[in-house]
Symmetry: C2
Subunit: 263 residues, 2 copies
């Protein structure tokens, strides 16, 4: 059994403040990367691939990268960060859970719309669904995300779920939530690569992927931005001192009171 005692220390608070400034710097970077991802994917689909429609043509397919990048990567990355934002720590945890669940539901809905756009286009063009490794990894990420949302809802939002079940499931929920991020990046990078080969190396194309025309630069940079976004999010999630402090520890007024008891 470990017993942890807290002794007031001015250096501890100074270190905390510096750490918080670095956190906000990384958080701002992640917001910039996320915004750039959405701008780049929209510019690519609108400026180079003919824009958007919901008619089974290639314009419908264009919703696929936009929804996946916006929902499954950027919104998802922001949804899993909710508990790391210091300005949320004073909020009621139930409110945080609702915000986390709602943002994730938004991300999941965009992912489903993105899948529908691809399937509908494939079906109309008589192209088989789910044959490439891009689609296998991407589809697995969406299925895992759906299960993750459902399990998270059942475990942490239903009031009747026993505490022991929440405790037992929490570690797995956090880990599998984190795993979805690299899966979506692997799916996105392979999807960008696949799309650029299909459109730039097509017989009727005037450009070639190998010659790196502006469209290829734009979409390749999107892949790099997605990676940068995910790495900043992962950094915020994994750095221990940026994790939400134990609420039990914060409720203790006496500095020499046991802060944490671990078995």
């Amino acid at each position: 059994m470990l017993l942890v005692y807290r002794i007031p220390d001015i250096n501890f608070h100074m270190t905390k403040m510096k750490s918080s400034s670095v956190f906000y710097l990384v958080y701002t970077l992640s917001l910039i990367f996320g915004l750039l991802c959405i701008i780049f994917v929209t510019t690519w689909c609108k400026g180079y691939r003919g824009g958007f429609a919901w008619d089974g043509t290639v314009k419908m397919f264009n919703w696929h990268p936009v929804c996946m990048v916006t929902g499954l990567v950027v919104l998802y990355g922001n949804a899993i960060l909710v508990y790391r934002l210091p300005f949320t720590w004073s909020s009621n945890k139930l409110i945080l859970k609702f915000v986390h669940g709602t943002l994730n539901l938004g991300a999941l809905s965009l992912a489903v719309i993105g899948l529908l756009a691809a399937f509908w286009f494939h079906n109309k063009m008589h192209i088989p669904n789910l044959y490439s490794v891009h689609s296998w990894v991407g589809f697995a990420a969406v299925i895992l995300f759906g299960l993750q949302w459902l399990m998270g809802f059942l475990a942490f939002l239903l009031p009747c779920t026993p505490i022991w079940l929440r405790t037992a499931y929490k570690d797995l929920h956090v880990f599998s939530g984190l795993c979805i991020l690299p899966m979506t990046v692997a799916a996105s990078v392979s999807g960008i690569n696949e799309k650029l080969i299909f459109v730039l190396d097509a017989p009727n194309s005037t450009a070639s992927y190998k010659n790196l025309p502006p469209e290829a630069y734009l979409a390749n940079t999107l892949g790099v931005l997605l990676l940068c976004f995910s790495l900043t999010v992962a950094w915020m999630l994994l750095k221990r001192e940026w994790q939400r402090p134990n609420t039990h520890a914060f409720s203790l007024s006496d500095a020499t009171e046991p802060l944490l008891t671990e078995n």
Copy 2:
């Protein structure tokens, strides 16, 4: 300042033993996934893509996926796990550092050979290098890995490096080491996708990627196996109770002696 006191507890040791069994189960899984990755990539290149040579032809290119999967994913994943294996905890830390550094040097060497194989083939076939998003992400991973190895050597193996520098750099070293893993998986999945499109959808091909011939099943499954391998490695790296115990804590004989002092 936090002061941690340890009080002997039989339940604590039972929990540790159970946790260790689960670790070895996950470790065995990761070894199986890693072995399957090497078998699958070799079977793909030997059985479907004509085997190996070092002559600038496509047989030389075949070393690229084999070296990248074996070195940059499987050997790298095992190299970063060295400090997590409970049977290494009683070893001298300097020996562990040498094992970690040597395995990583092996992984880096295989990655460089893999890059050379691709560049040599491209140059002989007059194909530009580094134009696809697969190559951008993969090349970035190898450059980051090279820097990581060099910085790790300078910081942790040179005896003259001051302790404050080691301490300051350690967190970044661990995090960037972890980041290389999803980067290599994103590069691998996009590389498999690209290669299958190039060879199966080529004008002289008798099969088509869209019809999922046996080669496509094999290589797609390789992509999934690479993901499974990386996720098991990430699980072992991130689970706090599987991290190498603090050596200072283990050197204390008195159970009521301060175990850990954190600022």
